[in-house]
Amino acid sequence: MTDIYKSLVEIIGEEHVSNQKEERYFYGRDPGLTPPHEPDYVVMPETSEEVQQIVKLANREKIPIVPKGGGLALTGLVIPQKGGIVIDMKRMAKILEVNETSRYVIVEGGVTHGMLQNYLKKHHPKLRHSIPDSPAIATVVGNAVIHGQGRLTQQYGFNSDMVSGLEVVLPTGEICRIGSHSISSQDWFSKGAPWPDLSGLFLGWFGTTGIITKLGLRLYPCKKIRDVMVFLTDKIELVPDIILKLTHTEMTEDIVVNEQPLPPRFKGNIYILIIITGDSDEELDFKRKIIWDALWDLFESRDGGFLSVPADMKPPLLEMPSRDVVRFADVRKGGGFEYSGPIIPLEKYPEFIAKQKELVSKYNLSYAATSRVIAGGHCMMYAFAFTFNRADPDEMDRIRKALREAAQFTVAQGGMMWKPTIEEQEMIMEKMDPNTLKIMKKIKALLDPNGIMNPGNWEAQ
């Protein structure tokens, strides 16, 4: 019988393999509400070849593998449901190349968003990437794999839409190049188009079809100045129209819609944060005027207005990533938060807010409703976010129930649950077109014949 531990040590060295209780405990959990499942091993490879060898070993020995980045999806996606090997990708932390003309960067599988931001600021200040609000330790690959969103999502789509190429280790151990660089080793300017887009076999699959060891990511112009405008309305039903008007201007960076009961200044209003960028004060002044004019009707009717944001209140609104997001976890003085963040069409916003308030009242919960506009308003991410005290099992249970109901509501409304928990994946697959589901099953079976990749996820019954 193979000594798995010894084999892993042979691949990556003793310092980077653990079968100790402490690592198994920590890597078997995430900060959300998913019950823990501990792995048998935690490993930290440094190269694609080491990942390849680990995958081959796992395939031979039929051991589950779960690739892990920052582990901040909060929906249990990197909790190893069937034990096995958790691969902490964060030692693969090299930023390999920035192509300024084609505006892309190639990163290894464990590069964090924080380090990428810092690197670009220092070496390529005219370029930026779409950084999410998850903490800076979130990895570029992890965020892309779950179709994350970031500061440039309103303009350019999901962060996964910005992928420009992949290097993947298949579950059967081959290393594959996906995108333009599948024929040219240098150019990572497209993840698929104009050919069959094979990146779709890996993005969104939560590691069940392969491990992304390198990723190309589109970069975008980084303007010198960023500023924020805040538009308030107390009429929920006006929000879709406001977003349409704002996105029509094509003048904005991020648009985030917030509704929360606390602190008191938020009560009763919807706060729409509009980020604008420019290379000069003139450019920003112009954009401000266009945006003001776009919402002038609402301003005149007094149904909405722009709040003058004092200078000292701007930095937290402009911060990337926003540290205020994690502070939500301590509202109950308990270090916990989880959210269901379905992707929905704009016009459903009022229904989703209404549902959230119903859940809050039913289960007596602390909440925030954050929504981010995606791709010019083609859809938005609506977050049923709840914060809990980790030492209060009853509160955690009430939130689980609330999130389950939120998920059921989303499915009924035709929304798409984002980074769904396993339970939510099952709800999705149950409602899915059977032929569509068949394709998913076929792809999984083809790529992962031994079912070793993050088992439990996207497993159609």
Binding site: M44, D88, G336
Partner: protein
């Protein structure tokens, strides 16, 4: 600080504790060394909570994780939560708790450190006279303005002794009235406190304060930021005695401003490493820099991670002896020395004998001895006279 057992579950494991403000690299020394999430602050806090709940049992590995924290306070600086200022205190409180409940099962190197302090009065296994370095240096007499508190590294470590001599020389040059305790000096207890050995710490405080009071000491100037921190911040809650404590860089800055020390040309490109116990612990960032900048000929260049983002040398919490973070090119002191080298500086300036010893060893291992000299600020100032 509130009871850590009621607070420690509040960690969200968001991971900001791993970084400096600009996310340029990993800034938690134990995480940089080992890279398992368990070795970062969030890992530690979650494991302590698990131990409290009985979900994990004490083990050597848990102990190693716990004691590999150098208490550098990068996590305190970076944590976005309201309880951030308490984080290291929680870890220290947990160490203290575990020491009591899991007697005898702390890492051998830590046990040895504490036993040596108890039996020998220093953690360096030195049995010789504490003041063997101090030929010609006056012993403190009642009426002297300052007690120059030298500390264990200053007394016994080769590099520390050189630092102690240059500080003494500078104070003498400036006509400052001071004296040392010599053989009667005891360990300040800063690391003992951080390692969680409260009883031993209490004994050291009592002994030291009694000695200070006997001699009518009012003002203390320390060689080491560790001693500065202990006497200033950790002694009063235990001893109720108050002394005016300074780190030598605070005095030295004043002496330069008042022209009591007149440095001459000293051509060098210098980068300064902020020690944790001066910087993040006590917000002393400017004085050392001002000293360097007032020496003609010195070009001061900053490392990317400086001031409140300084990357710990890895020596804190007794690690300058226990060396739980050693043995790898990713040891914090080696990372730091490489960072210093990248600035183009030919001198890496320190203000702490613990940093000195850690970084000196790292320079050797990194084979940079010919290219980068590690010098204490007092040595640079003394050499410029």
């Amino acid at each position: 600080m509130t009871d850590y057992t009621k607070q420690i579950h509040r960690c969200f494991r968001c991971g900001y504790c791993k970084f400096p403000s600009d996310y340029s690299d990993f800034n938690c020394p134990s995480y940089a060394r080992f890279r398992f999430d368990t070795y970062s602050t969030s890992g530690r806090l979650w494991l302590i909570y698990a131990w409290l709940k009985g979900e994990i049992e004490w083990s050597e590995h848990l102990a190693e994780i716990l004691y590999s924290c150098t208490a550098c306070k990068n996590c305190v600086e970076q944590c976005p939560m309201k309880f951030s200022s308490d984080i290291v205190d929680w870890i220290v409180a947990a160490r203290s708790d575990m020491m009591e409940k899991e007697k005898g099962r702390i890492p051998p190197a830590v046990t040895s450190f504490l036993e040596d302090v108890y039996r020998l009065g220093n953690p360096l296994k030195e049995r010789g006279k504490r003041d063997a370095w101090a030929d010609g240096i006056k012993r403190y007499q009642p009426g002297d303005e300052y007690l120059f508190y030298v500390g264990c590294l200053g007394s016994y470590d080769e590099y520390g002794q050189r630092m102690a001599r240059s500080v003494a020389r500078l104070l003498g040059e400036a006509g400052i009235s001071f004296g040392i305790l010599g053989n009667e000096e005891n360990c300040c207890g800063n690391e003992v406190y951080l390692l969680g050995e409260n009883e031993l710490f209490g004994m050291l405080v009592e002994k030291n304060v009694q000695k200070f009071k006997e001699l009518g000491v009012k003002k203390i100037v320390t060689l080491s930021p560790h001693a500065y921190n202990a006497i200033k911040n950790n002694y009063p809650p235990v001893s109720n005695a108050y002394f005016e404590v300074y780190h030598y860089t605070q005095l030295l800055r004043g002496l330069l401003r008042e022209n009591k020390i007149k440095p001459s040309q000293y051509k060098a490109k210098v980068t300064y490493h902020d020690p944790c116990f001066l910087g993040r612990y006590n917000q002393i960032y400017d004085e050392p820099r001002e000293i360097l900048q007032s020496i003609p000929g010195i070009e001061l260049v900053e490392m990317e991670r400086s001031r409140e983002n300084s990357f710990c040398c890895g020596g804190g919490s007794g690690n300058f002896v226990t060396d739980l973070l050693g043995g790898s090119k990713e040891s914090p002191s080696r990372i730091r020395v490489r960072e210093a080298y990248e600035t183009g500086a030919n001198i890496l300036a320190v203000a702490c004998p613990s940093c000195m010893t850690m970084l000196q060893d790292a320079v050797k291992v990194e084979e940079l001895e010919d290219k980068l000299a590690v010098k204490d600020i007092s040595q640079i100032a003394a050499e410029s006279l």
